[in-house]
């Protein structure tokens, strides 16, 4: 099974690829991939049965079929705005993020609490980032000879970005206070980097397997 349709969305100077993996009625599920990954070309089997509605998947900046910009400068916040661009196109969604996409999904849930109807945070590449506080700083300089995804600058910068637990938990509080959903976040990931450990402990966050979380938010 291949990708049904791909829409190109504009975020600043970047063209983002949003793939529709399954059509249908009702609220869409938005898949956010992990660091260095791209959107799947078909609805993942663990999602197919548990989610009844349409399924879309976004390629982040520097990944998949989206633009690889010159000279890097990645932040998780910019990727949150990538995801928000998809949100503007799709309307209300439930978000399922893997790895880096889980962190971005958390931020989007806190930033757009009325439009994100539940976010599920799952294991995947780039889940930890650079840890809870700065490590020794490094200078990443990459020969720009081969500008093809995934962008080496994305791999370098989004595996070393700092993710303080109290920063992550401010997004949880916003989602809790402003979404009207309880719970509003589900942690399906089994791995617990510092930020996610803190998130999982917050009021309004449930820890449960992926299928249960999909069923829960489909019923919202």
């Amino acid at each position: 099974m291949t990708t049904a349709t791909t829409t190109t969305l504009r975020h600043g100077k970047v063209e983002l690829a949003l793939h529709q993996l399954r059509g249908g009625d009702g609220r869409a599920l938005l898949l956010l991939h992990g660091l260095g990954e791209a959107s799947p070309t078909a609805v993942p089997p663990q999602v197919a049965d548990a989610w009844p509605g349409p399924v879309h998947a976004l390629d982040f900046t520097g990944h998949g079929a989206s633009t690889v910009p010159s000279g890097g400068g990645y932040t998780a916040e910019f990727l949150m705005a990538d995801a928000d661009t998809a949100l503007a196109h799709l309307g209300e969604v439930t978000v399922l993020g893997r790895g880096l996409g889980a962190y971005v999904g958390l931020m989007l849930a806190g930033a757009r609490p009325e439009e994100v109807r539940g976010a599920i945070l799952d294991d995947g590449p780039g889940l930890a980032g650079g840890g809870p506080r700065p490590m020794s700083a490094v200078l990443h300089r990459i020969d720009p000879a081969a500008p093809r995804p995934p962008d080496p600058y994305a791999l370098a910068e989004l595996s070393s970005d700092v993710r303080p637990p109290d920063y992550a938990s401010t997004f949880v509080r916003q989602a809790v206070h402003l979404s009207g959903l309880d719970p509003c976040l589900a942690v399906a990931a089994r791995v617990r980097p510092h930020w996610l450990d803190e998130v999982a402990r917050q009021y309004g966050v449930v820890e449960e397997p992926l299928a249960a979380a999909l069923t829960r938010f489909a019923a919202v």
Binding site: T61, G71, V138, D161, T170, R173, H177
Partner: protein, 304 residues
Amino acid sequence: MTDDPSTATFPGAQAPDRVRQVDSAGVGIEVYEWGDESAPPLMLAHGGFDFARTFDVFAPLLAAGGWRVVSWDQRGHGFSDHAALYSWDADIRDAVAVMDSTSLDPLPVVGHSKGGGILLQMAEVAPWRITRMVNLDGLPSGRKAPDVADHERTRMLADELASWLGHHRRTHELRRKPGTVEELAERRGSMNPRLTPEWLRYLAAIGTVASEDGHRWPIDPQLRFGGFGPFRPDWNLERLPGLAVPLLGVLSTIEEPMGWGTSFADVEPHLPPGARVLELADTGHFVHVERPQAIADLVLEFLG
């Protein structure tokens, strides 16, 4: 009075002697030089929402002291390329690219405001490139934000996030507001309340681009004040104690919209051995614009 940038004048201001471009991994960076090309080089970094030619008075004074002064417009600022992405790491890479194009030997660096912050991080990631450092009102402050109740903060952050994301949803169609040179100078004056109308008009004449409907500042409309993120100023403060090169810091004492409000007491416990930090009485954030000769004298004496 004229809007032709080549004829704009201001007492003591000199256009750069040389302008060139450096490619930083696909982002074009505009580089400016004052002084004898064979003189020893020093790097001069501007602050956020600024551009290199705000050094048109200050840089020639350093050049007259025997230096080849090299400055550049940061990505998205001045006449450098607008990039898709912006971060301090990217700014530091661009700075190193400019440095590579100037000299592979270590050299002294001078930075104002955010430019000073960037150089502080550069001293940690590339200490072999730097011999001495001057920081002009860009030393970090570890001060916490004023205390607000938790639910207030949640609401404030929510509004800030929505506003930031709203900006990103339409950034591809944004253009800076056009105006006459006079109007652009006035607008800039609201952020630079202590700078004279003559200086602001000079900046607007040399630093804006004319098109059919008027002049515009060329800075990327994607860039905006404020914002949010995991960064805390005290992380940059933690770079200070381990700084291995001699440091001269200059602090302003009058708070301004673009300043950081850092006091000597904030930085004193973190200073590396031998550092010299001065507070300038009755001086705002743009120390080198308000007191070009005094700051140039301090810098030249420090560089030896």
